[in-house]
Amino acid sequence: MSAAGEEEENAADLKIGDEFLKAKCLMNCEVSLILERKYDQLQQIVFEKSLQYVKRFSRYKNPDAVRQVRELLSGYQLAEFELCVLGNLCPETVEEAIAMVPSIKSRGRVHDDEAIEKMLNDMSLIKKFE
């Protein structure tokens, strides 16, 4: 891989390479659902560690809630990567959300604080009622 490409990389500005920018990103809770289905298969260390990790850091456990969160966030003009960072970290305030996903405020998208706040509220509601 090219050294230049690596230097450019910065997730805060959504510079993660075209291939990954277009790829489907997975929240930890989604990965958990996928890996659990494969649990009986041949195990190796990368799989084991990933499964342990996503189980520990899944904000939503219930498959319905996982689907609802993706649906909700999909309505907010977010890049896949941004959507998954929000779904993984579940920031509580607008300020925190912007610190976690700085790109949310750039590129002239219509994300005023009010819209972000509503999004965070809806996320915590899903969590509350899962």
């Binding site: 041949l42 990368v46 990933s50």
Partner: protein
């Protein structure tokens, strides 16, 4: 971050496997070859979740082996510079601490000169001091925040180093909304 992506690989198969279960053989070989591997470009391949397409085989001159291009879907874990994620602390020493996020190791340095990686920064907040002992840790002067083995931290990746079989990251907890999420022992 985890991704669901489609990758392609040329699989070589010995003629003895040609038969009704050729596809099955191909898939199980693919899993054995690919799952658990790591490349700088795509990160760690965690699990293959499906086969998109098996292309036409091509006989290799002089061997009888046949090469099949196989397109498969898989879950990969690829850390990015600038990414913020949660991780579990695995080891603490006076140089800093190691944390793990799935298959990747992240080092958060407390050392002034980390020459190899050209960092001259303290990536652990200044008010946190190293305490040695049975359970080495970093603690704030008022004792309110403690980082030790098994603590959960939220950190930002500020550098990655790739070698043939591993990706290694450097992280920081010195920024807004980063740091300890939970101490081991307290409620999760």
């Amino acid at each position: 971050m985890f991704f669901h992506i489609v990758l392609e690989r040329n699989m070589q198969l010995h003629p003895r496997h040609f038969g009704r279960d050729l596809r099955e053989k191909l898939v199980s070989k693919l899993m054995k070859d690919v799952e658990g591997t790591c490349s700088g470009r795509h990160g760690f391949v965690v699990a293959i979740t499906g086969i998109e397409n098996v292309g036409k085989g091509l006989i290799r001159d002089g061997t009888g082996f046949v090469t099949f291009p196989v397109k498969y879907q898989c879950v990969v874990f690829r850390p990015f510079k600038g990414e913020i994620l949660e991780a579990v602390v695995t080891m603490v020493n006076k140089m800093g601490f190691f944390a793990e996020a799935g298959p990747v190791q992240i080092f958060v340095s407390n050392h002034v000169s980390f020459r190899l990686l050209k960092f001259h920064l303290l990536l652990i907040p200044d008010d946190m001091e190293f305490q040695s002992g049975d359970m080495p840790n970093y603690t704030t002067s008022d004792g309110s925040v403690k980082i030790q083995k098994d603590s959960e931290v939220r950190l930002k990746i500020i550098g990655t180093r790739v070698d043939a079989t591993e990706i290694f990251c450097i992280g920081t907890i010195k920024d807004d909304f980063l740091g300890v999420i939970s101490d081991p022992g307290t409620t999760s």
